[in-house]
Amino acid sequence: MIGMIEIRLRNQLSEILRLADLVDRFGEAHGLASGVVFKFNLVLDEVLTNIIDYGYDDGAPHDIVVILTLAGAVITAEVIDDGRPYDPTLVPEPDLTLSVDDRPIGGLGIHFARTMMDRVEYRRDGRLNRLRLSRRADPEAAGSAGTT
């Protein structure tokens, strides 16, 4: 089973809803489990929100490209943006054991990627950030990305 879609988004938070809709449709077209589609939507939302909120200094419109691929039993989402260089795999793990009073707000987005995906790979490609997120389509497979 092979499928691929390329989604071009503007750097506006409202685009995330359109992305979620397209990811849902990709999942339906390929019979993917709803839990797996949910994980991709969550991780992509977190990655895109971060890029849109912090990736640009110039206030100008930018395109962000998301390429979703299903090859065999593996789903891959690649996010390509021309924002400032940013490697989310270098973000430290949040301390999940802290109490309500001590728990800081933030750092969860990359944690979701690490726990829900099998692989999280970043590379800087000229002016572009390229983040590849992949996991098995099997909903029972646990993510185990760690930092690569």
Binding site: D45, V100, F112
Partner: protein, 117 residues
């Protein structure tokens, strides 16, 4: 996203529906934090019809928990669907909140004086 607010005795029930993400978190924040009474608040967030929550939504939940604690009140969640529950589990938030399957149990939990937040 839609937020319906109601009361049961002294407890405020926040019924949040749809998607809480970076687009809607601000509106959710206003509703939820606005529902925390200044003294001895009792709050139930009913997530039965919550389809989706991202870290932007968890952030609002955490802010509410901090505000409720500071006011020596009680807060419980109920009705988390499996995908939403997984977001709470993976983030460690399941151990920060009282979570009950049904609204009645959540209401009973927050109406007991002295119960933890």
């Amino acid at each position: 996203m839609e937020v319906l607010e109601s009361r049961s005795g002294n407890t405020v029930i926040i019924d949040v529906r749809g998607r809480v993400d970076s687009n809607t978190a601000r509106a959710f924040e206003e509703k939820l934090l606005g529902a925390v009474a200044p003294a001895d608040p009792a709050l139930v967030v009913d997530c039965t019809q919550l389809d989706y929550i991202s870290s932007a939504g968890l952030r609002v939940m955490l802010m509410a928990a901090k505000k409720v604690r500071a006011a020596k009140g009680r807060l419980a969640l109920c009705g988390l669907r499996p995908h939403v529950r997984e977001v709470f589990d993976v983030s460690g938030f399941s151990s920060l909140f009282l979570i009950h399957p049904a609204r009645d149990a959540a209401l009973a939990a927050v109406s007991q004086a002295g119960a933890p937040c």
